[in-house]
């Protein structure tokens, strides 16, 4: 099952904190799509996911300087 989280209105540390909390509620093998801004979120979120053993499948830029991250638990 694929989940979605929009963190474009969050600031550090709630960016990767919210991603971590959402991932914690998911089952192994499920995927999470995260919409995030450039800068701190793009720097911290993929890294914090990988540090916890989750797989970052892709990072795609979107139209308005945002990025869509796909993470697998």
């Amino acid at each position: 099952m694929k989940h979605f989280l929009d963190i474009t209105r969050e600031t550090c540390p709630m960016t990767f904190v919210k991603v971590k909390l959402r991932l914690a509620k998911m089952e192994a093998g499920e995927q999470l799509e995260v919409l995030l801004n450039e800068g701190e979120p793009l720097e911290n979120v993929p890294r914090s996911c990988e540090e916890q053993g989750y797989k970052v499948l892709s990072i795609e830029p979107t139209d308005n300087d945002q990025h869509m991250l796909l993470i697998q638990k």
Partner: protein, 164 residues
Amino acid sequence: MSKAAVVEKKKISIVCFSGEFDKMLAAYTIATGAAATNREVTMFFTFWGLNALKKERGRKSMGKDFLSRMFNWLMGGRNNLPLSRLNFGGASPKLMGGMMRKNNVAQLDELMEAASELGIRYFACEMSMHILGISKDDLIDDVQSVVGVATFLNESEDAHIIFI
């Protein structure tokens, strides 16, 4: 979960002493950031830091004797945390709260809620609670236990200790 090397979790212990609004935000930013990046986090609240943990968020005189009741009333709870500088009689924390809201920065309540969800451990200092006449029932439920410095140091073995 993908295969990842099993690494022992890094530990971090944060001593919350000052009980100041801005410093409490810094403490919780570090704490939640650390917990969200696979570190084990312990927070040890002592002296003025205890004010942020009181169930009673406003001013209430607690304690058994006149001096402790006066101190508790003067210090207040989470709603009265002063700014570490330019406090302007308590106006600044409110102004700062407004600035944070405008910039979508998490308020202290949101950070504390995230800290609970992330499983951050809370310890309260027995000595300062004793002096200030505060009991465990006066503090929020997240507080696991009231301990002394020896327990804190044992729990912080191999941890980075930060004093805020």
